[in-house]
């Protein structure tokens, strides 16, 4: 379905000496430096797979997605998506893939989502009957019936994101590229959207290529994760294994009623302490969250508490540092 072989991309970046002289000099004799955004990327994604494509900012995720959807031409290597060479057969490919970019809306802001759906049906040249049937099904599945005719500007971010996903699915794409689909959403909505994507994958066999900074997205949705940094794949493994190795850390932010008594337990690390506020890291392999919470509540008055997954950046830094691999 997606085959990538030794794909690489270099950009030319203009260099400039500091100061006024440098500005003048670069105007007449610009100097460029080659920057490698993606180097020798190889992987295969099968039909129906849900793969997380992870990495910190600037790792080369967007560059890769842009090459796979045909926007960018690579500097070398090969890629085939549904049998097409994306950058050569961009238009043909566009009828068979869907894209959702979390920070880029396809919806018309002042109009209800139903108007955008209508436009999408025309753009993708859908047959009227097929379109209406598909639309009905997606509206039911994503539960957007109550606000189908409400202008997009009046919708919440979560409602809007559901509509974005529908707009990208109307033409029955075989692969959907989701770039940060849950960015800025609250937990309940995130879970709902994840469930819907999973259902879609289960029922229609749509392959999902997901990038996210949210560890929860990755854990919930994908069976496999590819982690890249500095344009290279540093990890390509089952999320189950990755979770065992790297996502086992949880961060607890807690505000206590008075200065804490001694807190010591195997697998518990104090990351930060500011008066009565504490930031703790738990290695869930050594101590369960339940045990830690029980001990906190038993010995202190808890005013406020939140539990977080480590950020994707932290996970990647664990992967780099080799943290958790051995212990």
């Amino acid at each position: 379905m997606i085959e990538v072989n030794s794909l690489f991309k270099t950009f030319k970046v203009k260099q400039k000496e500091p100061g006024l002289y440098g500005s003048l000099y670069s105007l007449f004799r610009p100097k460029y430096q080659e920057k490698e955004a993606v180097s020798s990327l190889s992987f295969t994604i099968e039909q129906g797979e849900m793969v997380a494509f992870l990495g910190p900012n600037g790792a080369g995720k967007s560059t890769t997605i842009k090459m796979l959807t045909g926007i960018l031409h690579p500097s070398g290597g090969e890629a085939r998506v549904l049998g097409y060479i994306p950058w050569r057969e961009r238009k043909q490919l566009s009828y068979r893939i869907g894209t959702v970019f979390g920070q880029k809306s396809q919806l018309w802001y002042h109009l209800p989502p139903s108007d955008t759906f209508e436009l999408m049906a025309r753009i993708y040249e859908l047959k009227r009957g097929d379109y209406l049937q598909r639309r009905k099904k997606l509206i039911e599945r994503f539960e957007i019936e109550p606000y189908l005719h409400t202008p997009v500007r009046k919708l919440s971010l979560g409602e809007r994101m559901r509509c974005e996903i529908i707009a990208a699915l109307l033409h029955r794409p075989e692969i959907i590229f989701l770039d940060e689909p849950t960015i800025g959403l609250d937990v309940v909505v995130k879970v709902k959207i994840r469930e819907m994507i999973k259902e879609l994958n289960r029922e229609e066999g749509v392959s999902v290529f997901l990038t996210s900074h949210d560890a929860g997205d990755v854990e919930d949705l994908c069976k496999r994760a590819i982690v890249i940094n500095h344009g290279r794949i540093i990890l390509d493994q089952a999320v189950r294994d990755m979770k065992r190795n790297y996502l086992r850390y949880k961060v607890i932010n807690v505000k206590l009623g008075k200065m804490p008594n001694t807190l010591s337990m195997a697998g518990l690390k104090i990351l930060k302490q500011k008066e009565r506020g504490l930031k703790l890291e738990i290695d869930t392999k050594m101590a369960s969250i339940e045990e830690v919470l029980q001990s906190l509540i038993a010995e202190n008055t808890v005013e406020d508490i939140t539990i977080e997954d480590p950020s994707m950046e932290q996970v990647i830094s664990y992967i780099y540092a080799g943290a958790g691999v051995s212990g």
């Binding site: 030319k12 560059t63 926007i71 961009r90 566009s94 436009l119 025309r122 753009i123 993708y124």
Partner: protein, 265 residues
Amino acid sequence: MMWKKGAKYGAVFRISLSQQFAYFYDFLIRTLFLILILFVFSRLWITAYTSGGTALIEGYTLEKMMWYLMVTESIYMAFPALVDRIEKDVKNGEIAYFLNRPISYIGFQYGQYLSEAVFRVAINLCVGSVLIYFMAGGIPIPNLLGFIPLVFLALTLQYVTVMAVCLSSFWVEDIRGFHLVYSRLLMIIGGMMVPLEIFPEWLQHIARILPFQSIIYLPASFFVGAHTEPLATMLIEQGLWLVFFTLILLGIYRLGVKRLNVNGG
């Protein structure tokens, strides 16, 4: 399947037209501004005619001049603000997201532009006509079968030229300078402020061989019956400029996309 391709752009036109109604207050302010401009310029012309004690200036009666002014202002003030939109799309790379959709960026923008421009020009002409009728009377009855295609081609030509200027932001940091020069040329030698006949012979000659008059002067002079060329010649003139600038626009777009493909915007 040509009609299906055409239907895409028709759908963009329709959805964009519906969106116009959301900008009611923006539209109201624009219309009030048009009324103000027309009123001030009409008073100026009335003063010019009465203080000069003349009934005709270069073949234009006072009424004709005021109706001419109404059409030029109505067209000029109907142009949607493309510059901000396109420059933003190019600078922050949003244009790239159109490349993997089965619709052309230039066609999509044209559908959107045309709906805004047609909507505004129709309202401007109606409001302007009422105002000038009360100030000057003597409504000219133009040949609408000629006037409508002239305005349509003028709006399209404006789109193509401004779009070409806007897309140069692939290479140029700030295109506002270019656009300012372009719009001032349109105002002066395009015939927005005064009909070309008022200019000295040599400037008139230059203005007539440049494209700007096709956008403003031709439809306005036709509306008041001051045109010297037959309708067919005027339409052909607009059509040729349109072909010329479309080729330039497509060339710039293609080079820009190539740059985007290589540099990622």
